[in-house]
Symmetry: C2
Subunit: 390 residues, 2 copies
């Protein structure tokens, strides 16, 4: 397989998009990534768009073809990929294959979503389509409910009393908002206090409002290319050294919600391809759709032993400046979560961290970064490992 | 790039699926393809599912992950791809890249759809989401209306009076039903007469009922693998020697509906990769969603000069036994059109034609076959060229 590099990245500010459509959000992020790569739209050979619910939300199918036309991509192959919240990272995985195979030299991986206009009653109802439609979606289970169960299972399994676990979860939320306050693209650029967290509305016990990420509008994009092309386009090279992806079925097929099996299979594939271990990682963007999800993911990725993620967090290890900084961008929790755009926005942060241009939220000396994106009831997980330099 | 082969294919009978869900239809086709390849589900390394409207029709997202679990695929990367009616062929294109790159040795490309349960008022309304949601979908344009316009544009451009064009279109319909009558997987296994055609209901002038394909339920699957693996699995080898894909934007970006530009770009990529020309093709499965679409596609693929597809048809060249047999399966018109499953069902027919096992509808001596699948308002087109032997 050929080596694969990132030439440029782009993203919109995440939040609520009252007037801009998904396609317009896509166009903004895509043109940023293309411009940053010193390219023109005509140079792009294929387009991948991660998108979960664009057809339901805005009534649009063949989204990727319309997206290509939106910015004048010249009749390129245009492919929409859907893996619920993992859609964006799935787009990068497939863009990687097109370059690695030698079929193409320059492709654009992107993601976009406009959830705040969903015609379903609310985002929770929309998201529920990720659960098995015949056996589970109709039971009343919701994603907040699912991750609340994750808290209880985790608490019980590792003998961590719920009040203690809630302290850890509060730390996740406060860290997310502290980092997000330094990110001009974040939906919430405001720190929160322990008091605000504790007094926030109960959503699905023990999850309170500040345990939950928002459902946002936004887009992100990444120009992925061969090494030969990257040499001509950038002097801040970042290589994609590992990709992994794995799946699981509905909740009834999974025994332990505190340890989604697909994550461990996916990330091990990425580590193996990269020839790296968790110890080699300097910065991580992972799927903190709920605060408990960050703790669970940090363990599944091999960054901390199982049952010890909360303690590592309490020791400050996941802060910027800590041993293993997690979600310096603010994560889904503070930066926002426009479903299909999330995976590539994680890549946007990691690429810029490895380039050393993240200003106040820079992880000093970061050379290798990892992203983790989870879709549905732990049903689709994809991981990418990025590395600075040639 | 590595060489890529087909080890096995499967498909359900197309038609109306009253009780089986999309996932169950998928499982039936997938297991047929896996069994035919002398494999077990555990041997599959990645799953691609072409599906256009499963979330709207059955309320299911992360479809590919649920599909993997349905047949016990072992936590494989599972990817849903959407390019409207071209989704299935897009799945093959991406499966091809995973094998060609060397990342995987055995992957399953599949497609499924269950349209007859759509909660939208009708299929025409559902399909309309393929039109540009902001500028075109709301104008009243429908796909029958669009292909009716194609008739008028074609008639005017090539100076073929509409009654003459209708004669050609009638021949397309009669040929489709004649071939479909010999296909046990076809939705309509019954020949039609000229009288039945002429007296059928007017849908969108000049399109009558027998000019329009049905919207069906069904699934299809194809095991795609490296040459090394294929040598162990099959003694009826079929190679994927060319793949092509291209896109266009909404209708307002396209000047001549009688010559969709994306098709010419896509198929030329496939011919180039294969080192072949239209003259080398022995059998074709192309996207006859409406009778006029078959004539237009046969020209765009380079099989006949522009404006002469009808005459070639009238000379019998596209019949089984003719110079360039088109849609021996019965095509979308008679075999049925379960959107996401259509592209791989075309591959199913071509693979079996090249194996020489199509019985009454066999194209004698077929060695090289071409498929053509069109999605949305000519917005996504993908082509595959298959070749018999090592």
């Amino acid at each position: 397989m050929r080596e694969v590099y990132v030439a440029g990245v782009g993203m919109t500010k995440f939040g609520r998009s009252e007037f801009k459509s998904q396609l317009e959000l896509f166009g903004e992020a895509a043109m940023d990534a293309i411009n940053e790569s010193n390219l023109k739209p005509k140079d792009i050979e294929a387009l991948f768009v991660g998108n979960a619910n664009g057809d339901i939300n805005e009534g649009i199918t063949v989204l990727a073809s319309h997206a290509a036309a939106e910015i004048g991509l010249n009749h390129v192959p245009a492919i929409k990929l859907e893996g619920a919240c993992s859609s964006g990272t799935v787009a990068i995985v497939n863009a990687f294959m097109w370059i690695a195979s030698g079929y193409a030299d320059i492709v654009l991986a992107s993601g976009c979503e406009r959830n705040t206009v969903t015609p379903t009653a609310d985002a929770t109802r929309l998201m529920n389509s990720g659960n098995h439609h015949r056996y589970e979606a109709g039971t009343g289970i919701t994603f907040p409910g699912l991750f609340a169960m994750m808290c209880h299972m985790y608490s019980h399994k590792y003998n961590i009393p719920l009040p203690q676990l809630k302290e850890y979860m509060c730390m996740v939320a406060m860290k997310a908002h502290k980092n997000g306050a330094k990110n001009p693209k974040a939906q919430f650029q405001k720190e929160i206090t322990r008091e605000q967290y504790v007094n926030s509305a109960m959503i699905a016990s023990p999850l309170q409002m500040f345990d939950c990420c928002p459902i946002s509008d936004g887009a992100s994009a990444m120009v992925v290319c061969s090494k030969e092309v990257a040499k001509k386009l950038t002097n801040k090279p970042v290589q994609i050294v590992g990709v992994g992806q794995a799946s699981s079925g509905g909740l009834s097929t999974q025994k332990d919600y505190s340890r989604p099996i697909a994550r461990e299979i996916s990330v091990q594939k990425a580590y193996k391809m990269a020839g790296l271990t968790p110890k080699d990682i300097n910065v991580v963007e992972l799927h903190d759709c709920f605060t408990i999800a960050e703790i669970v993911a940090s363990e599944g990725l091999g960054l901390f032993d199982f049952g010890t993620g909360g303690q590592a967090l309490a020791r400050g290890e996941t802060q910027i400046g800590g041993r293993m900084p997690i979600n310096p961008s603010g994560g889904l929790k503070s930066k926002g979560h426009p479903v299909g755009a999330t995976g590539i926005a994680q890549g946007y942060e990691i690429v810029n961290q490895l380039r050393g241009i993240c200003g106040q939220r820079q992880v000093e000396g970061a050379k290798i970064g990892l992203t983790d994106t989870l879709g549905g009831p732990f049903a689709s997980i994809a991981n990418i490992i990025y590395k600075r330099g040639w």
